[in-house]
């Protein structure tokens, strides 16, 4: 019987799990070494996407998550009142386009497989695409409209989930570094050791995003999650001229690839504040956060292929973050078969904002023994696709330059 849970990490996944567990009556303590929402959750665009995932377990999780967000936003608004900043949730829809003749057929074929999996994926003519996005480059060769793609302001969402968790009895402690686990003689984990003393728990949930491998390592287990860096460019405020999440079909290739080298694909969207965000890049360079001009040049160049008018817009800021990358592209959600009492909720790569709510529901069901909303098996650490990456775990510690 799990009555006390420690969650390591106050990003959006930890926040969503904390709220869901606290509402289910569990005593929750969130431990965060920095500040809430100070890592990956603060470094992305706030994507809640179904459009970028092919049929499979992750798409099922995304479709389920997409169904949760509208209710959650309404609940949080009621619960937290008007003094709390709005989450800027917008079901603005996604428009995925091909920019080459060769890219058109694969884009449409991919959308067809998504439709079979239950996604609202609507092929539209170039003329209709231009009606949806009048400033789009008319030279596109194909387009698919995904009405269910949405956006949220991820930092506000994280803070709101944490505020709600606190309101339901959870304790959130920032500036506390988890340094290891306490165990009983059987090896079962009974809590954590921290920079501020031990904290006892029936279950310890690691939700530390790309740093989850480091936390797991401190507890003596290996987790093959690695940082995959991404850069976003932010323009100055401008009149609203980009209405959907617009991206080129290359994005699928980049998200589904394991290539460590730099990949960029264009993602362009407006924010409620009037800025336009240009993404995105993917590269495995460890936790190196230094600016690389060739990366942002490429992001800028590809954005212009979608929206030529942006050439005259000004970039005022860039930020980069580290996605928690799993070698088989699926998050890890559930108990660690090697260390009873230890649980994982990480490895969501670039989809953690959207998937956080669904992840929390799976964790609650597994911890409390209730019926899960969907099959959790594909996200287990003991899944077949991860086995090769867990072999030799003790001899081969994480090798990224940190």
């Amino acid at each position: 019987m799990i009555t006390d849970v420690v969650i390591v990490g106050a990003g959006i996944v930890g926040a969503a799990c904390a709220r869901a567990l606290a509402m289910a009556g569990v005593r929750v303590t969130v431990l965060e070494r920095g500040a809430a929402a100070s890592g990956t959750s603060a470094k992305g665009e706030g994507n809640l996407l179904v459009s970028d995932k092919g049929p499979g377990a992750e798409l099922d999780l995304a479709v389920y998550a997409a169904s949760l967000w509208p209710n959650l936003v309404a609940e949080l608004a009621d619960e937290l009142g008007p003094a709390f900043p709005p989450l800027e949730y917008e079901r603005k829809g996604g428009l995925v386009v091909a920019t080459t003749d060769a890219g058109a057929a694969p884009l449409l074929a991919f959308a067809a497989t998504q439709r079979e999996a239950g996604v609202d994926a609507r092929p539209v003519s170039v003329a209709d695409a231009l009606a949806l996005e009048p400033w789009l480059n008319p030279a596109i060769t194909a387009a698919v409209h995904y009405p269910d793609d949405a956006q949220v302001q991820p930092v506000i969402a994280t803070e709101a989930l944490l505020a709600s968790a606190r309101g339901n009895g959870a304790v959130v402690r920032t500036g506390v570094t988890v340094t290891g686990a306490t165990r009983e003689a059987t090896g079962r984990i009974t809590g954590v050791t921290t920079s501020e003393g031990d904290v006892r728990a029936d279950a310890v949930l690691i939700a530390a995003g790309p740093w989850s491998g480091e936390v797991a390592g401190a507890m003596g287990v290996h987790l093959p999650v690695k940082p995959r860096r991404g850069m976003v460019l932010v323009t100055t405020r401008m009149p609203h001229r980009v209405f959907h999440k617009v991206y080129d079909g290359d994005y699928f290739g980049a998200t589904q690839s394991s290539d460590a080298a730099l990949q960029t694909s264009s993602v362009v969207e407006s924010t409620a504040a009037g800025t336009v965000l240009l993404g995105s890049s993917r590269e495995q360079v460890g936790f190196d956060e230094r600016l690389r001009v060739d990366v942002i040049r490429e992001v800028a160049g590809k954005a212009l292929r979608l929206f030529p008018f942006l050439a005259e817009a000004s970039v005022m800021r860039t930020y980069g973050g580290f996605r928690p990358f799993m070698p088989d592209h699926l998050p890890v959600i559930g108990e660690d078969h090697r260390a009873p009492g230890l649980w994982h909720a990480s490895g969501h790569e670039g989809a953690g904002i959207g998937l956080s709510l669904a992840t929390a529901d799976l964790i609650v069901a597994a911890m409390l023994g209730t019926t899960p909303p969907l099959d959790p098996a594909p996200f287990g650490l003991d899944r077949a696709s991860l086995a090769p990456h867990l072999v030799g775990e003790t001899a081969e510690p994480e090798g990224e330059a940190a």
């Binding site: 506000i156 803070e159 060739d294």
Partner: protein
Amino acid sequence: MSPGAASASSAGRTVLVVGAGPAGLAAAKAARERGASVILLDSADATGGQYWRHLPAARPSANERALHHGWSTYTALHAELDRDPGCEIVLGAQVWAIEQFGAAPGATPDAAPGADGERTDAAAAAAPAPVAVHVLVGLPDGTARRGRTFRPDALVLATGAHDRTLPFPGWDLPGVFTAGAAQAFAKGERVALGERVVIAGAGPFLLPVAASVAATGAKVLGVYEASRAAALVRGWLPKPWQLVGAAKKGGELAGYVGSHLRHRIPYVTGRAVVAAHGTDRVEAVTIAEVDADWRSIPGTERRVVADAVCVSHGFTPRLELPIAAGCELTPERFVRIDEGQATSVPGVYAAGEITGIGGVDAALAEGEIAGHVAAGGSTRDADLAAAIGARRTFTGFAARIEAAHGIRPGWTSWLEDDTIVCRCEEVPYGRLRETREATCASGLRSMKLTTRAGLGICQGRVCGRTVEELIGAGGAPGALTVDGSPSTSATTDRRPIASPLRIGELAGRAPGDPGGPVDPHTITHRPSEKGHP
């Protein structure tokens, strides 16, 4: 030493100097004397920096000498560099990014600079700086800015400081000027700000501003210094002989005091402008007595009719380029330097206000040392002795200015809930406070993204440190680097894109642009192309 007498080690070295104020000009001159080729960049359309801001050559003024302390120093420095074929002065040059190369932070350095781990001047001089400096040259609003990228042997950062203004009710009304803007108008445009001008804030900078404003014909009603007499005594009196040592500085101050007497300007301590009033522009201000912590004392408020207010509460060093280059900062948030002005990054030097707010004489001395060492010289060289002595005399000034005039925490008592804190995004103080209470947020990034404070076009240059102080994140607990250690890199001073640029300019990557390491001894000059259609 003449350029011809340079030692072999500095022959062919290229020193890039960013900032052509007093420190940058002195660095460029010293590096040339040591035999290096020099490129001197400044974003303005003239050299001189903020300190020696003057009328353009096309409409010269006979009055510059009277308006500028040390004007002859400036004209001599400028003239020497301007006629020197070994020094290229590039004006209208905006450094928009500095890229670091080499080992990732925290990793083992790929080459140990010295056998004993100590970096010597000679070792530092041997390796080229592991940075690329990306610059756009031309009018900021023009359509034809040219991109240039530099990989110099040594980089001297002399980016100076901008003045810091604390918010108070009405500070966003037209007619309220930062003292720096007032100084720029007075020195650069010779425009009178108003008929009845109040000058307020803290620090010795208020005096030259008052002098400049009075010289344009405006009536200066008074200079209101927030620090109380006791703090001024604490800052200035324990070591009065330092003022004698800093005779030039004493002379500069005496000049301003003389100007005050001439213009009959009252100088009042322990007073602050705590509100400005007016509908379309400022019509009056409230001046209140403040305690030692700058908290306004109820019952002391006095309303004064005025049509212009100049406020300055000190200076913020321009740190985005040193941070982008990877330079370590001190706990006081200046660039950490050694006795040769070398930063923590090999081949990168810093001089002037970014190492401590010390004024023009300290900047000139530091610039000379930085340029000399950057060009391959040593701090033990005899021809640097005078500069090292001068630096010792004048840098003591920085600590004393801070002790006497440093910002005290009680200023927040001036704020009302509707006082705008971030002007770009129009974020009022009340929203910051409410959001902080609602979220229990302790992280700077979270507060910025939740309230939008500091996210506007100025990128927190005006309000960044104010926001940090208001949410209690000044020392950066909660502001973290990726490895979780508290670090200044997550503060509002960090701006990887140091100035806005068009997406077309960014995307306009010319063929052959490596965007990465190139021959480290080559300076590459590349025209920028327009972006993809």
